[in-house]
């Protein structure tokens, strides 16, 4: 029997590691899949090529999978995710000038995101008084965790992300240059770009996004719902290959090899040492050489990270509602929730025997009441800054 050919699109980021390792380490081939990986330059391309069927599957921003299913950016194609490619993994990096300004205003421990958010509010107010231009924050896509993490953080400190600052979309490879040139004052992006900015001395990592939310679904393995119904066996095989790859990546003994594979020019194409810092969660956060370590920086498979969690889908939908990207309806909420498919994961990889993590509401936000996926109206009501009243 010949192997089934599959074309899968990805963006060169460390959170594509389960996909890349599944292919390059032979886990996909072991399942009888002949996968061709196609490196892309924009999320719009990945989304469109998946939607029109040029890709069988894709490494996709989790919120894009939901937006596509709900038809929030014109094209409506239902997507399902049987595997979560990563939790967290982004960081907020600020220019040396903004870093100094925030530290100057910080009242308390700057490791606490509430302290930095309130300090940011004071910096913003002071700039307004002097008539300075609003601060500009770069993020990767309107429907991205980066966008929501930045907004969640600054709004907690009293900064309105649409009124008090500018949020602009920037392709990740342009982030570091834009920070160095002063086109943006800060950005929220995935690996390796924060580390690149710190290594070049043009940025300080202010927060890992895991400071803001303990668990945030970042990228998913996405397929068209129609495809999943027509090819249930193939999807199970592909999901299983990803499960094996995630286990392989999470074994610290394999990190060197994994980083070398990911670093190849046709994959992520950056220094394996920088990739390994991300996987190990040990990042240089300041040009002076200060390192910070976190067990939650990027979770590829451990702590149940790979099993799609519908609570995460609801949280992402709630952000779309909070910031005016989506209208609220109970039907839309159910549709968003059904994009994340733990049942497909369990069927392919096996159901977890016990809870894999101890984050009570499944999200672990630093601000607000515990997240209740059954009552997002009340949850959103409690936030002072939002675009749309429910």
């Amino acid at each position: 029997m010949t192997d089934t050919p599959l074309r899968i699109g990805f963006i060169p980021l460390v959170d594509a590691s389960a996909l890349i390792i599944a292919v390059d380490k032979g886990f996909a081939a072991a399942e009888g899949l002949d996968v061709t990986l196609v490196r892309e330059v924009s999320w719009s391309n990945v989304r469109d090529k998946l939607n029109i069927g040029l890709f069988d599957a894709a490494h996709l921003l989790a919120p894009v999978a939901i937006a596509s299913t709900l038809g929030l950016s014109q094209v409506k194609v239902p997507i399902v995710a049987s595997f979560n490619l990563g939790l967290n993994g982004n960081a907020i990096t600020v220019s040396p000038a903004l870093h100094a300004a925030i530290m100057g205003e910080a009242d308390g421990d700057p490791a606490n995101p509430m302290v930095t958010a309130k300090a940011l509010a004071r910096v913003v107010a002071a700039r307004r008084k002097t008539g300075a231009e609003p601060l500009t924050f770069g993020m990767t896509f309107p429907f991205s965790t980066h966008n929501y993490q930045l907004r969640f953080w600054m709004a907690a400190g009293g900064v309105d992300p649409d009124e008090d600052v500018r949020l602009v979309v920037l392709p990740p490879p342009y982030m570091v240059d834009s920070l160095a040139n002063g086109h943006v004052d800060a950005f929220c992006v995935g690996a390796p770009w924060n580390s690149v900015a710190v290594d070049l001395g043009v940025g300080h990592i202010l927060h890992f996004v895991s400071d803001i939310l303990e668990r945030a679904a970042e990228k998913v393995l996405a397929v068209r719902e129609k495809w999943s119904l027509e090819n249930p066996e193939l999807l199970a095989k592909l999901t299983r290959a990803h499960g094996r790859a995630a286990d392989f990546i999470e074994n610290p003994a394999n990190r060197g090899e994994v980083s070398r594979i990911l670093g190849a020019p046709e994959r992520i194409g950056v220094d394996p040492e920088v990739i390994q810092r991300t996987l190990d969660g040990r990042l240089k956060i300041s040009p002076d050489g200060t390192f910070r370590e976190s067990s939650r920086y990027l979770l590829v498979g451990r702590e149940g990270a790979a099993r799609p969690d519908p609570v995460q889908a609801v949280w992402l939908y709630a952000q779309m509602v909070r910031w005016g990207q989506a209208a609220y309806s109970p039907e839309a909420l159910e549709t968003a929730k059904s994009v994340f498919r733990p049942d497909l994961y369990d069927a392919a990889v096996g159901a977890p025997a016990e809870p894999a993590h101890n984050v009570k509401d499944g999200v672990g936000a630093f601000d607000g009441a515990p997240f209740d996926p059954n009552d997002i109206a009340a949850h959103l009501d409690a936030f002072a800054i939002k675009r749309r009243a429910l």
């Binding site: 330059v41 924009s42 999320w43 719009s44 391309n45 469109d48 090529k49 029109i52 069927g53 040029l54 950016s73 014109q74 094209v75 409506k76 990767t140 896509f141 309107p142 649409d162 009124e163 602009v168 979309v169 920037l170 392709p171 490879p173 342009y174 834009s178 086109h183 005016g324 990207q325």
Partner: protein, 196 residues
């Protein structure tokens, strides 16, 4: 085709040659109001300043994601812009994606007004890809020629052959080993460099 100068078209492309090819084609078809943006910094501000009805962008341009921000309801957006093509026209969108072009249009523009623009772009993008391909092939042919000359020179010197004899030797070796003449020439040059 009837001249349709009433709407403004912006081409976002870092390749000046392709942009020129597109612009010329559009002008020939009667679309006179065509602007080219090659600088990606402050892209949205530049686009809003021109206020176009149609935006054409190369699929290989990472700034496509920047354009997606135009869909968002926020204070900087003046009017909503939708990506061509609507879902009922799957063939058209597939043709466009395969040619490498993506189009964003102002919401509400009629499909029959957009279709000729997109068709023209698809054919121009394909023409450009063909041109690029020919250019690459010419370049590699030239490269092969240079290597062949060097290989012949090396053989003439090492074995006291005439140019004709050196060429015959390379050609017969290529035929015997079922390889291209260029590959044999390259091996001779590489070997000579190793033996230096």
């Amino acid at each position: 085709m009837a001249a349709d100068s009433s709407f403004k078209i912006v081409i976002v492309d870092e390749s000046p040659i392709r942009a020129a090819i597109l612009k010329e084609g559009l002008r020939d078809a009667g679309f006179t109001s065509v602007e080219h943006i090659s600088e990606m910094h402050n892209l949205l501000a530049r686009i809003y300043a021109i206020d176009p009805d149609v935006i054409l962008i190369d699929l290989e341009n990472p700034s496509r994601d920047v354009l997606e921000q135009m869909f968002q309801v926020s204070r900087i957006v003046r009017r909503p812009i939708a990506m061509f093509v609507d879902q009922s026209d799957a063939t058209s969108i597939q043709d466009a994606v395969e040619a490498g072009v993506s189009a964003y249009i102002v919401d509400g523009l009629k499909k029959e007004r957009i279709k000729p623009v997109l068709d023209l772009c698809i054919s121009r993008f394909n023409a450009f890809a063909k041109l690029q391909d020919e250019l690459d092939r010419t370049k590699s042919a030239l490269e092969d020629r240079k290597i062949l000359d060097r290989a012949k020179g090396l053989l003439m010197k090492a074995k006291g052959l005439t140019e004709e004899e050196a060429y015959v030797l390379i050609r017969s070796t290529a035929m015997r080993e079922k390889k291209k003449i260029g590959e044999i020439a390259q091996s001779i040059v590489t070997a000579a460099e190793l033996l230096k």
